[in-house]
Structures are given as C-alpha cells and as structure tokens.
Amino acid sequence: MSLFIVNILDGLVTGLLLFMLCSGLTLIFSMMGVLNFAHASFYMLGAYFAYQISLFAGFWVGLIVAPIIVGVMGALIERYGLRRVHQYGHVPELIFTFGLALLIEEFVQFFWGRQQVPYNPPAALDFTAFAIAGNTFPAYKVFMIFMAIGLFLVLLYILTRTRIGMTIQAALSYPETVQNLGHNVPMVFMGVFGVGTAMAGLAGVIAGPVMGTFPGMAFTLGAIVFVCIVVGGLGSLWGALVASLLIGWIQTFAASYNLRMEDLLVWLGFEKPMLMWESAWQDLWTLTLPQVGPILPYLLMVIVLVVRPQGLFGKRET
C-alpha cells in the first residue's frame, strides 16, 4: 500500500511535468492550428540555458532567466520563420517545426557537446522531504509539483479572468472577427507562441536536473507530449491536464508492477510450453508489463483516435 502511494506521487511528478509541456503545445495548436514538433526542443533549450546560467549565477537565476530567453527565441522563430511558412499551409508548417527540432538538437550538440551535462538540483533543495516506508521523496520533487500546479493556476486565471485571456480565447475561435475588432492577431499569435515555448523552457529548467540534460532529452519526450495533447483533445487545457496525469500514472505503474503475461495465459487456461525456447510463442509468454510500459501511451493514443478522434475532452475534430 505504501508503495502504491509512492507511485501515485511519482506519477504525479511525471504527469505534471508532461502537463507543463502539453499546456503550451495545446495553446499553440488551438490558436494557430500548428502542431509544434519542436516543442520538446524548447524544453531541452530551457534545460541547457539554465545549466549554462547556473554555472555563473546559480540555479535560481537560471529558473527565471532561461525560460525568458527561450520564450523570446520562440517568439522570434514565430515572427521570422513560422509566419513566413504559414502562408503555404499547415503541412509545410508542421514540417518546418520538424526541421526546427532537428536543427535545435544539432545546435545543442554543437555548443554543449554530446555528453550529459552535470546540471544538478540546487543545494537548498537537495534533501529528503519525507519518506514512506523507506522510499525517500526528495524535496526537489515537491518543488516540481508546486511549480507545475502554480503554473496551471496562473494559466487558468489568465485565460479565463483577464482581458488578454478573453482576446486569446476569442482569437482561438474567430480570428478574423477578432482582427476586425482591432486586435492585432499576428501579435497575439507571436505572444502565445512565445509564452508556450517559455513554458516548455520552464519545464526543461526544472526537469533537467532530474531527468538528465543531454541532447537526446527532447527526442525521448517529444512524441509522448503529442500523445498527451491528442488523447486529451487538441486545444483543451483540461484535457491536457487529465491526459498528462493519466499517462504519468500509466508509465509509473507499468514500470512498478511486474505483471507477467505468463500468469495471465495460465489463468486463461493455456498450457505453458515445456521447452520455452522452442515455442513459437516464447515472446508472448515471457512478456512483462514493464517491458511494454513505454508503448502503452501510444496504444492508448491509437485507440482513442480510432474510437473518438476529437480526444477525451476535445470539442472539435481536426
């Protein structure tokens, strides 16, 4: 039971981290209609910038400055890259961000090399917050949880309670009308893209010390982020939250519980082959849950898309 609670907390950390990426991505998508393939790359840039800054000015300065740099970069890329490609349609836009992801990875390797860089949690948070039945829970992870929840509340407040949020929501659905009302929609787009990438950058800053800061960090996370927003429903903030937590927990529990296909098959009444290595079904018999854990999100995504193409909380199809 205590392990269960620990897993709930671990899954929460993973899920909230995913959410920090998904929230920006889903905002960008619902506003501009573009699936930003480079989103996880901005997450990586956030981690690397924060690492570089932390060498000179410490972790906390990096926490503030790195996301701002990433956000400004994102806004500039929107202004001078994406907006240009926008006129050609959605597929070139998507391909542009795809190329951008490759390019950012190459640039990171160019400047910081190919090895993992030693980017670590700040000393102030380097202690054990609490322990459940021998399983320690570092203070840094508590900090991560509060950061992510704080971000979500701020985002929710801005989107639903402020004038700017109203404009954004309106521009989501009726860009032309909003433009005719005198709002600068391209400016709003640039702002949203900048803020979205800054949030990804922030996620990178706080995840880098835990998940490792290396050139492959964007690639391993990039596809999962897509799964989250697609499962949650493109453009839905709540959907992104639910899907992120769901996937965080799926991954954690799948890794924790060593359920074996063998037990299931025996329970179903199949007879275990005497000579396993000669059986054609050996791979099925020896399958375990941790083995398939990381692919479960993709399975979930395919099923959701086939059954309900607009996602769990999505209102419209794409």
Binding site: V91, F110, A223, Y298
Partner: protein, 429 residues
C-alpha cells in the same frame, strides 16, 4: 449525366503514356545502365543501391503525402515489414531453394500491402492531424514491438540472411555488388513506372481530388475514406518493394528499418525534393543520400548542414528543389530564360562565397570547441591554419557578411529580371 468518355476523372486514361512522356523513362533506363560504367567501385555501387531504395520508398511515400495529402509519421513500418518478411522468405529459400532472388520484391510488396490494408482500415477513416497522429502511434508501436517479438524481428540485432543461397537466376547468384545493382535498377524502373502509371489512373486522380477537397469528392459519390485506404494500400505495396530491395542489398534488417527516425527521414527526403512533382522524391532521395554518405566523410557536423538546408527549403522553397527548377519552366517556354542568366551569373559568386564562408565559420567554431588541446591546426578548403587565432574566424565572418550584403544588393536586379522573364510582354515594352 456524363458519359465515361467525357468524365474528367477518366478522360486521361485513353492515352496512358504519350510519346513525349516515354522519353524520360528511356533516358532514365539508359542512365541506369551506364552509371556503373562510370562509378564502378563497390562503395559507389552500394551508395547507388541505397539511392535506388530510397527513391522507391520516397516515391511510395509521396503517393500519400503529395498525391493523397496524407502526412504519415510512420511509413517506415511498411517498408520495414516488407523487408523483414522478404528476409524470412530469403532464409526459407536458402533451405529449400525453389525461387530466384529477383522475385523477392514481390513478396515484400505483398506483405507491405497486407499491413497497409490492415492498419489502413482504421487509420484512413480520417485525414489530416488524426491520420498523422495515428501513423505516429502505430509507427512507435511496431518499432517497439520489433524489439520485444524476437522470434520474428530478431530483437535489437535484427535478422540477416544470405542472398546467394536462393535459386540461381540464369547462372547469377548475386554475390557481387554489380549484379545486385542491376537487379535493384530493374526493380527501381518497374516500381517507378508502376507508381507513375498509378498516378495516371482514375484512382490516382481521385486521390488528388480527395486531397484537394474531400467533401466535394464525397458529393461526387466517391467514398473519401475508401480512396484514402486504396492509396494507402498502394503506397504500402511499393514501400514493401523498397523493403525487399533493402533486404537484398544489405542482407540484414533491424529495428532501425521500422523506427521513427527512418519515418522522419523519408518525410524530409520527399519534402526536400518537392512533394508536388512526381520527380520530386527522386531528386530528394539522390541529394539526401549524397549528403548523408559523402558529406559525413568530410565533416562531423554534416547533420547540422542538412538541418539548415531542410529548414531553409521549407522557408524559402516550399515546393522543394524540384519546385525551384520548375519555376524556370515558364521562362523557358517563353524563350526568356536568357534574361535570368546575367543576374544569376552575378549572384553565383557571392552566393558560393556566403555558403563556403558560413560553413568555414561553423567548422572553425566547432574545431575550437571540440578538438584536442594542442591540435590547433585545421585544414579547410586546402588551407591549413591555426583555428585558435582570431584571424581566420574574422576573415570568414567578414566574407560571409560582405557576400550576404552583395546578395541583398543584387536581389532587386534578379527580381526585375524574373518579372521580365515570366511575363508575356515583348522585351522593351
């Protein structure tokens, strides 16, 4: 009601291949025969084989992206599965040889088709983002399963075979690269011609119609879903052929043939060449293979250059390299191509200077950051110098800035010449 002969969807079928369309194919066939005479080393043959395989795969991919408007992030699955199955067939044939190697691609194609049929059943119900995301999910699932299902995929090591152990084909056992080259070349022609003809059939035209306006196609009585499904199956078939050719050439298949990176690469290749043209993926495959194999011999940061090229292509030439060439068709037809010669001649020097100096700056920076201590000496463009002294770097930056400035100055001249060359007016009016 329209009779079949006036139906625009079938009107093109009466003349499948006009004579002037046959000419490029004849030229291509002659070129394929002659290429190994010029490039006869084993590695050149291997690279040409790799090129041919990429061409078939890219053409198959473009049946989806270019003709059907379907963006797939998991098309390596069909090529890979076709290849894996072909490899198993090859291994069965080494035990009991009753088929010669040249028929193997048919098996690869059929297996690719089978899987495209099964997966297309649910993935082609929708177009757009939904299709793209399902393809991503299926791609990840199959690639991950290939590591888990060892008995079929051989795990991380993959499965290998020996092509020489199949039934000899008119005395050939395909032990030498040159024999494999001609086998691949013949299949390249067959597959490319097949895909070209397919694009000319009513089915191929329908795929265009659904791509451009699915609702209108639906109103005309064609199920958009079925049109996509059939395109998907056809694409899977040709991708499977590419997989079998891979199996023949490399005699090994691994998870790499199925994974996301391979799927992404083929998207890149196709887009680089130009999705709107039949010949686009061919040009893309040739350019990309050369970049990948030859450029990586010259520089460690080849992937950076490829990334820059790719992003620049999307930004400035969204119709790819072929689109860039196609822009010149109109001036050519108007007989005004000569108008462009002068501005191009003026720009070629600064353009080359810009590319070379920018590359030099990157190389110097990379060398300074990553070379061993004491290894200050570096050589680019046949010049050896100390990479740590600021002079070469400054020189490179100055040349780059000056040539960029020159290009910017020359750009209006090109634009004027371009306007002139693409309008019907007589010169001087």
């Amino acid at each position: 009601m329209s009779t079949p002969s006036t139906n625009p969807l079938t009107a093109g079928t009466s003349r499948l291949i006009p004579l002037n369309h046959a000419l490029p194919w004849i030229i291509a066939a002659v070129a394929l025969v002659l290429l190994p005479v010029i490039f006869d080393s084993r590695s050149a043959l291997t690279i040409m084989n790799q090129m041919a395989i990429t061409i078939v795969f890219a053409l198959a991919y473009n049946m989806l992206l270019g003709q059907g408007g379907m963006l797939s992030f998991g098309h390596a699955v069909y090529m890979g599965l076709g290849g894996f199955f072909s490899m198993h067939v090859m291994n069965w044939m080494s035990v009991d040889p009753w088929l010669p190697l040249p028929v193997l691609p048919i098996f690869g194609g059929l297996f690719g088709l089978l899987f495209a049929f099964l997966i297309g059943w649910f993935s082609t119900r929708r177009a757009g983002t939904t299709f793209a995301m399902i393809s991503l999910g299926v791609g990840q699932l199959v690639a991950s399963l290939s590591i888990i299902i060892v008995i079929f995929f051989g795990g991380e090591e993959g499965i290998s075979g020996n092509r020489t152990e199949m039934l000899p084909f008119f005395g050939l056992d395909f032990g030498q690269q040159i024999e494999v080259y001609y086998l691949t070349a013949v299949w390249l022609l067959i597959a490319a011609l097949g895909m070209f003809l397919y694009s000319r059939t009513p089915m191929g035209r329908l795929a265009n119609a659904v791509r451009d306006n699915e609702e209108r196609a639906e109103f005309l009585g064609y199920s958009q879903r079925n049109v996509r499904w059939i395109s998907f199956c056809a694409s899977g078939f040709f991708a499977g052929i590419a997989g079998a050719l891979f199996a023949i050439n490399f005699e090994i298949l691994t998870e790499e043939n199925l994974n996301l990176a391979t799927s992404g690469t083929i998207l890149l290749v196709t887009f680089l060449g130009g999705v709107g043209f039949f010949i686009g993926p061919i040009i893309g495959a040739i350019v990309f293979t050369l970049l990948q194999t030859v450029l990586s011999l010259h520089t460690d940061i080849w992937a950076l250059y490829v990334g820059i090229l790719f992003v620049a292509t999307v930004m400035f030439f969204p119709f790819g390299l072929t689109g860039l060439l196609a822009l010149h068709v109109l001036p050519w037809k108007l007989g005004k191509i000569g108008y462009l010669a002068k501005p191009y001649a003026k720009m070629i020097v600064p353009a080359l200077a810009l590319v070379l100096s920018a590359a030099a700056v990157l190389e110097i920076l990379f060398h300074v950051r990553h070379a061993g201590r004491g290894e200050n000496e570096m050589t680019i463009y046949w010049t050896t110098f100390d990479s740590h002294s600021p002079l070469p770097l400054i020189l490179g930056i100055v040349v780059a800035v000056v040539s960029a400035y020159a290009l910017a100055k020359l750009a209006p001249g090109l634009k004027a010449a371009w306007d002139e060359a693409t309008t019907m007016r007589e010169a001087g009016q």
